[in-house]
């Protein structure tokens, strides 16, 4: 390579070198006779492994009975088994150098774990126990429930929680996706029998997926796993209900009054699509250009030009049955109307004017690059594999992701923006001190006002 003169070295942006290919590590994918699906990938970055045992049912499966019940079930499941007390579980984990957590979202319940490879057999045995022989000790249940209730009270003082709660209720109404957290009363109505019932019905091998990534040989690890899990009696779970969604006839504003707020949390958007929808990648790319990256239009406008906010972002959020698109920003109280104006201006610009070649190319490269970054760690790899397998995406979904992104056009972006950045029907939630922001919010529609407990005022 010729040496450039010093001044040129300083002033000319270096070109990109040729890309190096992503080499996919060997992967094993198998379903045991009892229905347990297993995906394994080796990654030798550190002498550890990480894993997730998923069940394809979460809070949405039992929302009609009790919101948050799946999460509570997962929480208490790690506090005792037929063979070990809560204290023994925690001390055994420490002995293996392991971390373990349990929880449930709308669509899945999960036991997540990582540990040193030398102890993989012991850790798998413990995970298996938690999945099959949890004992739900009543005193552990009472303790966890009290902790949950105190946590719920603190959530109700957190602006971002209150904004998401109202937004999801507006978009999804009485559908399970419309409730992101139980009320105190609902949490108090759980009984330990409800947890056991959930556990019996949904913690079944035919409803489960085990993903593991780490410093092991997949073939040997598969043999280890089979030994531990093969005796799990087969069983599947009931399908999850999908009740009708509310009609969102026009743009509407909701204000959650949080007295004393020194900032306003904005969230707005519409229902959108799941990852399986043919438009998914188009929407992902449009979102990236609009507000999904640091150099996106939204961030440039309301942060870097106007200084209204610290971390504005937009996102396309896929759930299993439906999805939604949202724009969020925590802004200064006196610029709520100005921020909404800019947010909508940038959305409408995406809908009306095709994106130029350079911006399009930058965004495609960004998405493919970030995808590669996500494969460079054990956690990142496990996350990508889990998403693709849980949602039953095409077998080569990950391998072909980058080439599919690189084929997208300006017309694809315009099409996605017109369909999913639906400003005329946008649902707008603002959380803050009513006295300071109501008149600004009212410029965008007559606000429905709620208190932090969710009561209309």
């Amino acid at each position: 390579m010729a040496t450039a003169p010093r001044s040129e070295t300083q002033s000319v942006i270096p070109a990109l070198a040729p890309t190096r290919p992503v080499i996919w590590p060997p992967r094993a994918h198998k379903t045991l006779s009892n229905g347990l699906e297993i995906v394994l990938v080796e990654s030798h970055t550190i002498p550890k492994f990480t894993g997730e045992l998923f069940f394809r049912s979460g809070n949405a499966a039992v929302a009609a009975k009790a919101p948050g019940l799946a999460d509570m079930t997962a929480t208490v499941a790690r506090t005792g088994t037929q063979k070990r007390t809560s204290r023994e579980i925690e001390e055994d984990l420490r002995r293996m150098g392991a971390d373990l957590s349990t929880g449930a979202g709308a669509d899945t319940s999960v036991i997540s774990f990582d540990g040193l490879v030398d102890h993989s057999n012991d850790l798998l045995a413990l995970v298996s126990e938690l999945a099959r022989e949890a004992s739900f000790p009543p005193e552990e249940f009472e303790r966890e429930r009290r902790q949950l209730v105190e946590g719920l009270r603190i959530e109700r003082t957190t602006p971002s929680f209150l904004a998401s709660e109202r937004f999801r209720r507006v978009l999804f109404g009485s559908h399970p996706y419309g409730t992101i957290s139980p009320t105190e009363e609902q949490a108090m109505s759980y009984g330990v029998e409800d947890l056991k019932d959930y556990y019996q019905r949904y913690y079944r091998p035919g409803n489960a997926l085990l993903v593991m990534v780490g410093d092991f040989a997949p073939r040997e690890m598969l043999a280890q796993i089979e030994k531990v899990f093969v005796s799990w009696p087969s069983g599947t779970a009931d399908p999850v209900p999908d009740p009708p969604l509310p009609e969102l006839a026009s743009r509407k504003v909701y204000l959650v009054h949080l007295p004393g707020s020194v900032q306003t949390q904005i969230i707005l958007g519409n229902r959108a699509i799941t990852r399986k929808h043919p438009d998914w990648l188009r929407l992902t790319l449009a979102n990236s250009i609009y507000g999904g990256a640091f150099n996106s239009r939204l961030v440039m406008n309301i942060r870097e030009q106007k200084g209204y906010t610290y971390s504005p972002r937009s996102g396309a959020h896929p759930l299993r049955q439906h999805g939604y698109f949202s724009v969020g920003a925590a802004v200064r109280n006196d610029v709520v109307a100005a921020s909404l104006t800019e947010i909508f201006y940038e959305l409408d610009r995406m809908r009306s004017t095709p994106v130029g070649e350079e911006e399009l190319d930058d965004a495609r490269t960004y998405l493919t690059g970030v995808f590669s970054l996500g494969l460079a760690t054990q956690d990142g790899l496990a996350g990508q594999l889990a998403t693709a397998t849980l949602e039953r995406l095409a077998e080569d979904y990950l391998e072909t992701y980058r080439e599919r992104v690189l084929k997208l056009t300006s017309a694809d972006v315009l099409d996605a923006a017109q369909k999913y950045f639906d400003t005329a029907h946008a649902q707008i939630v603002v959380v803050g001190d009513r006295a300071q922001i109501e008149s600004q919010a009212a410029l965008f529609g007559n606000p429905e006002v709620y208190d932090a407990q969710g009561k209309r005022i």
Partner: protein, 420 residues
């Protein structure tokens, strides 16, 4: 320059660390080191406002910076074909900052919203990382508001920005790190090419961050505007880094604060059920065992049930502490503590605090060992002295460190009543 190759995935992480954090920012300019970090994204000699961000994102990468007690970092993770571009960008902003009053006004506004979203408008915002220093320390460097009083942020001028840059951002005060999919010789050559022409300047004189000896327990109360549970945090002055006491204190910390098996969580949350949550650590919560170079605390953070008083909560906590001092720790308890410590260390190498930045943790360790200890290779040997800590050493450091006169306590008192 420090390089650490691993060519399994075609991505590289690059960082530049400057040996300046918020601890020694100028008096009357609280929050300035962090505000300055924002200014480093506003334009440099040959790359104007937004060019840094655009060039990294459009190369398929991500970037950020963060201000710590004793270092400030700027880093990028990119597909490895963008390595030279990233080195060029970092060299360019080490060479000269090109910013104006409009940039400063803009980022001052952004930083104020950052402080609001993270502290002023959040339940338990700043508890205890902003609460404890003014109570625990007497030297302004250690004791001031690191995120910044708004008056001080308003008072900052462009002149302050350039002066700070000239004083602390000289090449002699920095380390460059290149990790991942790199050829070491090639990477060193590229780094030389772009950083070699950055004008040298003197490294700043070391600042005085020393504290007078603490002779009595210190206490303070902070109002909790949003949350419903009372909070209490206890901080003990911790030993100097790389000393035998520090190694033992790290094992003591893991025994006390290591997750649900740690003594504090087990006793206060699981058994006595006085607390709803406890966490803690050395240099917790905005740092870790390795990334400080001056006085710090081993902190325990407790949110407790409203039906228990602060005194009752502290009495239960003190029982745990007194037991550790009186009876120490058995080899049977210390052994798994070490296993867990080692396992945590490996996880830190790979991910650390920046989940989307492969090898952020390894980069962070290499940088701190380079700047503070002049020995990046510690990353390979640092585990040994921890693994050799004896039960007696843990008890001995507990007796020395966990005294009333060596600690500070802050109470977060809720304004609202949340009790059932």
């Amino acid at each position: 320059m420090v390089a650490s190759p691993d060519r399994a995935a075609p991505v590289a992480t690059v960082g530049v660390y400057y040996n300046i954090g918020f601890r020694i920012e100028p008096r009357g300019r609280s929050g300035f080191a962090h505000l300055f970090e924002h200014m480093m994204f506003q334009g440099s000699a040959n790359a104007g406002k937004m060019v840094h961000i655009k060039l990294v994102n459009s190369s398929g990468g991500v970037l950020n910076g963060s201000t710590h007690y004793d270092v400030t970092n700027y880093y990028e993770s990119v597909p490895s074909n963008a390595l030279e571009r990233v080195l060029w960008l970092e060299a360019d902003r080490m060479r000269a900052l090109k910013v104006d009053d409009e940039n400063l006004r803009n980022q001052r506004d952004v930083v104020k919203e950052e402080v609001r979203v993270n502290v002023l408008n959040q339940p338990y915002g700043g508890f205890p990382w902003l609460d404890l220093p003014p109570i625990a320390y007497r030297n302004w460097s250690n004791a001031h508001n690191f995120y910044g009083d708004f008056d001080d942020l308003d008072a900052a001028t462009l002149d302050d920005v350039q002066k700070f840059f000239k004083t602390y951002y000289a090449p002699a005060n920095a380390v460059l790190l290149m990790l991942g999919d790199i050829d070491v010789d090639e990477a060193m050559r590229l780094a030389e090419r772009h950083f070699g022409s950055v004008p040298s300047g003197p490294a700043p004189a070391p600042a005085d961050t020393s504290e007078p000896p603490q002779i009595e327990e210190r206490r303070g109360v902070v109002e909790e505007k949003f949350g419903t549970l009372p909070g209490v945090a206890i901080g003990y002055q911790a030993p100097r880094r790389l000393t035998p006491e520090w190694h033992a204190a790290a094992m003591l910390d893991q025994a006390l604060h290591g997750g649900r098996a740690g003594r504090v969580y087990r006793r206060l949350v699981l058994e006595q059920q006085i607390a709803v949550d406890t966490e803690g650590g050395i240099h917790y919560p905005v740092g870790d065992l390795f990334d400080y170079n001056g006085p710090t605390l081993m902190v325990t953070r407790i949110l407790h049930k409203p039906e228990y008083s602060v005194d009752q909560t502290l009495a239960a906590y003190d029982q745990i502490i007194d037991e550790m001092k009186e009876k120490g720790i058995t080899a049977a308890e210390l052994e798994p503590v070490k296993v867990k410590f080692r396992s945590n260390y490996f996880s830190m190498l790979e991910g650390g605090h920046g989940a989307s930045i492969p090898r952020y943790g390894l980069m962070h360790l290499l940088a701190c060992f380079s700047l503070f200890d002049s020995e990046p290779n510690l990353v390979n040997t640092i585990l040994d002295p921890f693994m050799n800590v004896s039960p007696e050493a843990v008890q001995s450091v507990a007796q020395k460190m966990l005294t009333r006169q060596n600690r500070s306590i802050v109470i977060r008192r809720p304004v609202k009543k949340g009790a059932a």
